[in-house]
C-alpha cells in the first residue's frame, strides 16, 4: 500500500495515500470537530459536502484554511489542527451558524442531542457577534403525522437531502432557494404530506440539530395512563428490546426485554403485550397468501401475480403507493403486525377482558416513525376509533421511563402479560432485514411440503448487504427470494422486477438500513455501523433462545384461530387483518 508521511500537530505519522486530514487526525488521536460530515459505513456512503467549514485546519503553504473532511493528505504535508487561526475561524463559523439559529435550546426537542449545541460547548462560545435584530432565516413549519420540520434550525449540512435522495431515492427533499434563505425542503415548501415523503424518518435520524424531529406522543400517552376510565394496552416491537438499553447506557446489542416489560408495567400500562405475537399472526396470513399464490402459479394460473412483497413496513407501503401505482396488486394484503395487534386487541381481546372498545387505548412502542403515520391511516379506523391509538418510538419510551423516574438499570426482569404476549423466534427476527422472509419461510416450508423443518436458521437470508437473494429448496421446488433494505435498494430491486431482470417468488423490503433495528425511532447511532451489527446479533440471539421458533406453533396463535378467526385468510381474517392499497402518485 502506498503511504504518505505527514506532520500533524507536530506529530509525524505515516498513513495510506488518499487518507483525509480528518481521518489522519483521528488515527493520531486528535479530534477535529465536524458538523456537515456524515459517515454511513453500513451504506457505503460518506456524505461530505465540505460546506459547514467547522473542520477547517491550517496547512502550511496553503493560502486559506482547508476543510479536513475532504482534503487528502499529501506527502510532507504539515498540518496544524488547533492553531489560533484555525480555532478563531472555527469559532467564528460556529458563531455564524448560531447567529442564524433560534436560541430556544431550553425547550428544543433536540436539546442534549444536538451537534450544534455540542460545538458551542466544545468551542466555549459565550457571545454571538451580530447586530441587534440580526436576521434569522425563517421558514414555514410543517407537522406531519410522523415528522416535524422546523427549518429555522437547519444548518444546511444537507445530510437529510442525501439520505432522502441518494439512500432512500424518495426525493421529497431538496435544497431550495439560495444564499441566506437556502434551506432543505419539499417542493414549494409544501407539507411533507403532499410530497412523496414516506415518513421513513431517516432524515430525522441524521439531522444534527432540531430542524427535523419526530412527532412526540409521550404526553398523550401519559394522559391516557392517568385516565382511570381508560384501559391502556401496550405492545412492543421486536427491534425495540435490542436497542432501548442504549438510552440507559448499555452497550449496543444488549437485550433488555425483561427490564422493558417491567418498566412498562411500572409506568402503569394495564397490559404489557408483545407485537411479536402479531408478527406470528402476520406470518400465518402472509405465509398463507404466499402459498396460495405460489401454488396457483405452479399450477399454471396466469392471473396470479408474483413475486409477493412483504407489507409490514409502512414507509415501504407509502413508497410503492407513490412510485409503483401499477404494481398495487403485488404486495401482500396482510396488515403490519402493529395494525394486526390493534385490530385483534380492540375486538377479541377487549371482548375477552370485558373492556369496552371505546375505553381501550392501544399504545405501540416502535423503532419506527412511519408507524405514527400508519396508525392514523383511515383504513385502520373502525367506527371512527383507531385500532392503534399512539405509536411511540424507542426514544420516546426511554424518555417516558425517565419522566416516570424509573431506575431502569436496577429493574428485575419481568414477563409479558398473556393473552397476546406469547411469541416465537420467528417473530423476533422481524426486527432485522431478511427476518420477515425467514420467518415466513419457516412456516411456508412446513405448510407447503407437509414436512417438519429441521434447521430453522436460514443464514443465506441474513446479512447487511443492501440487496440479497437466495433460493430455498422447498423439497424439490426451488423458491427464489429477494431481500432489500433501504428504499433506494428497494427501488433497484423493484425496477429489476418490473423490467423482468429478476424473477422472484417472494421479496422482503424494509425501508430502513438494517431493517427495523436501524429505524428512525431507535436510539441515534450517528453512522456507527457497529451499533447496527450488535443489534442484529442480539435479535438473532433472542431467536435462538426461544423454545418455539416457528410462528404457526405459537399456542396463542393456534387458540386465536380456533376461538375467533377460523382459518388464515378467512372472511373474519380478511376483515381484521388485511388491507388494500391506494394509488397516489406524487413527484
Amino acid at each position: 500500500m502506498e503511504t504518505v508521511k505527514i506532520t500533524i500537530d507536530n506529530k509525524q505519522i505515516e498513513i495510506p495515500k488518499g487518507t483525509t486530514i480528518l481521518q489522519a487526525a483521528k488515527d493520531a488521536g486528535i479530534t477535529i470537530p465536524t458538523l456537515c460530515y456524515m459517515n454511513l459505513p453500513h451504506l457505503a456512503r460518506e456524505h461530505k459536502p465540505g460546506s459547514c467549514r467547522v473542520c477547517v485546519v491550517e496547512v502550511k503553504g496553503h493560502k486559506t484554511l482547508v476543510p479536513s473532511c475532504v482534503t487528502k493528505c499529501t506527502d510532507g504535508m504539515e498540518i496544524l489542527t488547533h492553531s489560533l487561526r484555525a480555532i478563531n475561524a472555527r469559532r467564528t463559523v460556529v458563531e455564524l451558524l448560531i447567529s442564524d439559529h433560534p436560541k430556544d435550546c431550553l425547550i428544543c426537542p433536540s436539546s442534549g442531542s444536538c451537534e450544534l449545541q455540542d460545538l458551542a460547548i466544545t468551542l466555549g462560545i459565550r457571545e454571538i457577534t451580530s447586530v441587534e435584530n440580526a436576521a434569522i432565516s425563517t421558514y414555514r413549519k410543517d407537522a406531519s403525522p410522523s415528522l416535524l420540520r422546523d427549518m429555522d434550525k437547519c444548518v444546511m449540512c444537507r445530510s437529510c437531502e442525501t439520505v432522502c435522495n441518494e439512500i432512500q431515492t424518495v426525493g421529497a427533499l431538496s435544497a431550495i432557494h439560495r444564499g441566506f434563505m437556502s434551506v432543505v425542503a419539499p417542493a414549494f415548501e409544501q407539507d411533507l404530506t403532499d410530497s412523496p415523503c414516506t415518513f421513513c424518518g431517516q432524515c430525522v435520524a441524521v439531522c444534527p440539530t432540531g430542524a427535523l424531529t419526530m412527532q412526540d406522543h409521550t404526553f398523550q400517552v401519559m394522559r391516557a395512563l392517568a385516565d382511570e376510565k381508560k384501559f391502556v394496552v401496550v405492545q412492543t416491537a421486536p427491534a425495540v428490546r435490542a436497542a432501548l438499553g442504549e438510552e440507559f447506557g448499555y452497550e449496543p446489542g444488549t437485550l433488555v426485554t425483561g427490564k422493558m416489560v417491567a418498566a412498562l408495567r411500572a409506568l402503569g400500562f394495564d397490559k404489557v403485550l408483545d407485537t411479536d405475537f402479531a408478527a406470528d399472526l402476520t406470518i400465518m396470513e402472509e405465509g398463507t397468501e404466499l402459498l396460495d399464490r405460489l401454488s396457483r402459479h405452479l399450477e399454471g394460473d396466469e392471473n396470479v401475480r408474483l413475486p409477493i412483497l412483504t407489507s409490514c413496513c409502512p414507509a415501504w407501503v407509502n413508497f410503492f403507493e407513490t412510485n409503483y401505482p401499477d404494481m398495487l396488486d403485488v404486495p401482500s394484503t396482510a396488515r403490519s403486525p402493529q395494525q394486526m395487534f390493534g385490530s385483534i386487541a380492540k375486538t377479541y381481546l377487549a371482548n375477552k377482558l370485558g373492556v369496552k372498545k371505546e375505553d381501550m387505548v392501544v399504545v405501540s412502542i416502535m423503532p419506527c416513525l412511519a408507524k405514527k403515520y400508519e396508525c392514523q391511516r383511515k383504513e385502520f379506523y373502525t367506527d371512527g376509533i383507531p385500532d392503534v391509538d399512539y405509536a411511540l418510538s424507542t426514544r420516546e419510551l426511554a424518555r417516558l421511563i425517565k419522566y416516570g423516574n424509573i431506575d431502569f438499570t436496577s429493574l428485575e426482569d419481568e414477563n409479558f402479560d398473556r393473552f397476546m404476549g406469547e411469541s416465537t423466534g420467528a417473530a423476533v427476527i422481524f426486527g432485522v432485514t431478511g427476518g420477515v422472509i425467514e420467518a415466513a419461510t419457516r412456516t411456508a416450508y412446513e405448510l407447503f411440503t407437509g414436512k417438519e423443518l429441521e434447521n430453522v436458521d436460514f443464514h443465506e437470508l441474513r446479512g447487511l448487504e443492501g440487496i440479497r437473494s437466495a433460493t430455498i429448496d422447498f423439497d424439490g421446488t426451488p423458491i427464489h427470494i429477494g431481500i432489500a433494505h433501504t428504499l433506494g435498494n428497494a427501488r433497484k430491486l423493484l425496477d429489476g422486477v418490473r423490467s423482468g431482470m429478476y424473477n422472484f417468488h417472494a421479496i422482503e423490503i424494509m425501508a430502513c438500513p438494517g431493517g427495523c433495528i436501524g429505524g428512525a425511532g431507535q436510539p441515534l447511532h450517528r453512522g456507527d455501523s457497529s451499533a447496527l451489527e450488535a443489534r442484529m446479533k442480539a435479535i438473532y440471539q433472542e431467536d435462538a433462545n426461544k423454545v418455539i421458533r416457528k410462528s404457526h406453533e405459537n399456542p396463542e396463535i393456534v387458540t386465536l384461530y380456533e376461538e375467533f378467526l377460523g382459518e388464515p385468510m378467512s372472511e373474519k381474517a380478511h376483515e381484521l387483518l388485511h388491507t388494500c392499497y391506494f394509488c397516489h402518485p406524487r413527484k
Binding site: G50, R53, P67, L96, D100, V131, G179, M181
Partner: protein
C-alpha cells in the same frame, strides 16, 4: 465591388440606442441616391466607445461618427458618401481642445489601446464567417491540427505566457496540459461565458463582435486536450450574443470547420450551447459545471479539479471567453510575439469595461503594465463633470477599491492582487468625490448576499452579517467595535469560504477598510457621510434667506417636522426629521441645505 463601407456598431449598447434603425435608414438613403453599388452598410460588433454610441465608421477614409441618430443617416449619405464631405458635427470632439477629430486613431480613447482579443470587434460582420476567414480566421486551427502535435501546441501556449482572463489568472497552457494528462473516453472543452460581474461586459462584446474566434479557439483547445465536445455556457440575458454564436456555429459547421474530420484530419469537434439562468456563482468553474449538468449551480470542493473530473465527471477544460479570444492570434503570430507584450508575469493585453464617473465609458483593451492613471485620465478622458477622482474598483465583487496612491501602479494580475484588489474579469468602475465608500462596500455585499449560493456557512451567513453591520453604519448606528467585527468576519470568510468567489467576497469591504478607514470612522464616530450618500447621516436645514415660506416642504413632510408661517422662513425640527429628503426634492427655491 464596394468602394466604401459604413460600419455600424451592433453591440448591445448601441443597439439600445437604435443602431438597427440607423442601418435601415442608411440603406434606404443609399438606395434613394443610387449608391447601393458603391457603398455597403455592415453591422459589426462593439467598437468599445460606448459612451459616444451609436458609432458609425466610414471606410476607407476612417471617419468615426459618434452619437449618430437615425435622422443623421440621410446627411451622412448625401454629404459624405455622395459628396465626400465629412459631417463635422458628428465627429468626436476633443474635450480639451474642442477640436473635431475624424480618425479614431487620433482619439485619446483609442490611442493607448492595443487590440488582440477585440481585434475583429467593430471591424468585421460577426454574422458572416467569410469576413472572419478573410482575417486569417481558422488558419490557426488549420495550422495546429495539420502541422502540430497537441503537445507542441500546448508548449507554444505555455511559452506565450497566456493566463486565464476570467479572474485568478491561472496559466492557460498548464490548464490545458492538466486536462490532456487525464485519459477518458470523453473529455470536454467549456467556454465560460457566464459573465456575471455587475459592470463588466467584455465577454459579451467579444461574443457579439467576433464569435468565430471563440469557436476556433475552443476547437484548438479540443485538439490539444483530446476533447471532441465543446460547450459554451452563456448567460441567457445575452440574447444577441447567443444569436450570433448560434449563427457562427452553424456557418462553421457548414464549412466543415466544426464537426467530423475537420479539414480532412482525424480531428472532430462539436459545439453546443448551454444557458445560464441568472446566478453569479455559476461563473466559478465547479458551479458552472453543476449548472451545466442541470442542477443548482453550487461550487464543489477542489480537488478534483475539472481537468480531472468535471462535466459529467469527465476531464474538462474550462476557459473564459477573453482567454479563448487570445488563443488563435498566439498561434498565428507566435508565442514570442505575444511574449513581448505586457509585463514579466502577465503577458498580452487585458480588456476592461470602463464605467462609472468617467467621461469615456466603454470597452478598452490595453497592454498589461499600463497604469491606472493612463486608463482613467488618457483613455477614459478623466472624471465626469470635472469632479475629483476618488477610487477605482476593479475585479467586481471579488475585487477591491484602489485609490490615488495606486494610480501609477502598472496593472497586471500580481500587482492588483498585491494592492488588495484583483484583475477579476475586468470590470473597472471609476468613482468620484460624490461616492461614499461605505455605501460602495455595502453595494457589493448586497450583491454577494443576493448571489451567494448558500452552500458554505461563511459566505451564506457571514456576508449577511457583514452587510447588516454596514447597514447599521450607514444608518449612523455603528460603533468602533463594528469595524473590528467587520475585519474579523472578512478574514474568516477569506480563510474558510468554499469557492474562489466566496473567498474573495470580502475584498470590497477589506480594501475600503484599508484605503478609506477615515471614511468609516467618520460614519461611526462623527455620524457623517462626506459624500452625502447615506441619507440617514445627512442633516437637512432650511436656509432662512432662501426660504419663501411657500409651505410646500411642510405639506410634504411625512413626520410634520417642518413648521413655519406662510411667507415666513420655515424650520426643521431635527428630532422629528427622519431624513427622507422629500423637502429637498420638493423645494423649488434651493432653500434646503443638506449636510
Amino acid at each position: 465591388m464596394y468602394k466604401m463601407q459604413l460600419l455600424v456598431c451592433g453591440g448591445t449598447g448601441c443597439q439600445a440606442s437604435a443602431s438597427a434603425t440607423i442601418v435601415e435608414k442608411l440603406n434606404e438613403s443609399l438606395k434613394a441616391h443610387g449608391l447601393t453599388e458603391d457603398a455597403q452598410v455592415v453591422t459589426t460588433g462593439c467598437f468599445g466607445f460606448c459612451e459616444k454610441g451609436p458609432i458609425v465608421k466610414v471606410i476607407p477614409d476612417n471617419t468615426f461618427y459618434t452619437q449618430v441618430t437615425p435622422e443623421d443617416a440621410e446627411e451622412i449619405v448625401t454629404e459624405h458618401i455622395l459628396k465626400g464631405r465629412k459631417v463635422n458635427r458628428l465627429l468626436y470632439e476633443n474635450p480639451e481642445t474642442k477640436e473635431h477629430i475624424s480618425d479614431s486613431k487620433h482619439m485619446g480613447f483609442y490611442q493607448k489601446q492595443m487590440r488582440i482579443a477585440l481585434r475583429n470587434c467593430g471591424f468585421i460582420d460577426p454574422e458572416n464567417i467569410d469576413e472572419y476567414i478573410a482575417r486569417d480566421g481558422y488558419s490557426a486551427l488549420a495550422q495546429v491540427i495539420t502541422e502540430l502535435t497537441p503537445e507542441q501546441a500546448i508548449d507554444m501556449l505555455k511559452q506565450s505566457g497566456l493566463r486565464g482572463r476570467g479572474g485568478a489568472g491561472f496559466p492557460t497552457g498548464l490548464k490545458w496540459e492538466f486536462t490532456r494528462k487525464y485519459t477518458a473516453d470523453q473529455k470536454y472543452v467549456v467556454c465560460n461565458a457566464d459573465e456575471g460581474d455587475p459592470g463588466a461586459f467584455m465577454d459579451r462584446s467579444i461574443l457579439e463582435g467576433d464569435p468565430n474566434t471563440v469557436i476556433e479557439a475552443m476547437a484548438i483547445c479540443g485538439y490539444c486536450v483530446g476533447a471532441t465536445k465543446g460547450v459554451v455556457y452563456i448567460r441567457a440575458e445575452y440574447p444577441l450574443a447567443i444569436k450570433r454564436l448560434e449563427i457562427a456555429i452553424e456557418q462553421a459547421n457548414e464549412y466543415g470547420l466544426l464537426g467530423k474530420n475537420i479539414l480532412g484530419t482525424d480531428f472532430s469537434f462539436d459545439l453546443e450551447l448551454r444557458y445560464g439562468a441568472g446566478a453569479f456563482v455559476c461563473g466559478e468553474e465547479t458551479g458552472l459545471i453543476a449548472s451545466m449538468e442541470g442542477g443548482r449551480g453550487e461550487p464543489n470542493f477542489k480537488p478534483p479539479f475539472p481537468a480531472e473530473s468535471g462535466y459529467n465527471k469527465k476531464p474538462t477544460c474550462v476557459n473564459n471567453v477573453e482567454t479563448f479570444a487570445n488563443v488563435p492570434v498566439i498561434f498565428l503570430k507566435g508565442p514570442e510575439w505575444f511574449n513581448t507584450i505586457g509585463t514579466e508575469k502577465s503577458k498580452g493585453t487585458k480588456v476592461f469595461a470602463l464605467a462609472g464617473k468617467i467621461n469615456n465609458v466603454g470597452l478598452i483593451e490595453v497592454p498589461m503594465g499600463i497604469t491606472l492613471r493612463e486608463i482613467i485620465f488618457e483613455i477614459g478622458g478623466g472624471i465626469k463633470d470635472g469632479k475629483k477622482f476618488k477610487a477605482v474598483q476593479t475585479g467586481g465583487p471579488s475585487g477591491g477599491c484602489l485609490t490615488e496612491k495606486h494610480l501609477d501602479t502598472p496593472i497586471d494580475f500580481d500587482s492588483l492582487l498585491a494592492a488588495g484588489s484583483m484583475m477579476g474579469s475586468g470590470g473597472m468602475i471609476v468613482m468620484d468625490e460624490d461616492d461614499c465608500m461605505v455605501s460602495i462596500a455595502k453595494f457589493y455585499l448586497e450583491f454577494i448576499v443576493e448571489e451567494s449560493c448558500g452552500k458554505c456557512t461563511p459566505c451564506r451567513v457571514g456576508n449577511k452579517r457583514m452587510l447588516e453591520i454596514l447597514e447599521k453604519i450607514c444608518q449612523g448606528k455603528g460603533d468602533m467595535d463594528d469595524l473590528d467585527h467587520l475585519r474579523n468576519f472578512a478574514y474568516v470568510i477569506r480563510d474558510t469560504a468554499l469557492c474562489g468567489l466566496g473567498q474573495t467576497s470580502p475584498n470590497p469591504v477589506l480594501s475600503t477598510l484599508d484605503n478609506f478607514y477615515d471614511e468609516y470612522v467618520a460614519h461611526v464616530k462623527d455620524k457623517k457621510c462626506e459624500a452625502k450618500q447615506c441619507k440617514a447621516l445627512a442633516t437637512y436645514t432650511i436656509i432662512p434667506e432662501a426660504c419663501t415660506g411657500c409651505t410646500v416642504c411642510a405639506r410634504n413632510c411625512p413626520t410634520d417636522a417642518i413648521t413655519g408661517e406662510r411667507r415666513q422662513p420655515h424650520f426643521i425640527n431635527q428630532d422629528l426629521c427622519i431624513r427622507c429628503g422629500v423637502c429637498y426634492t420638493k423645494c423649488k427655491f434651493n432653500a434646503i441645505l443638506v449636510q
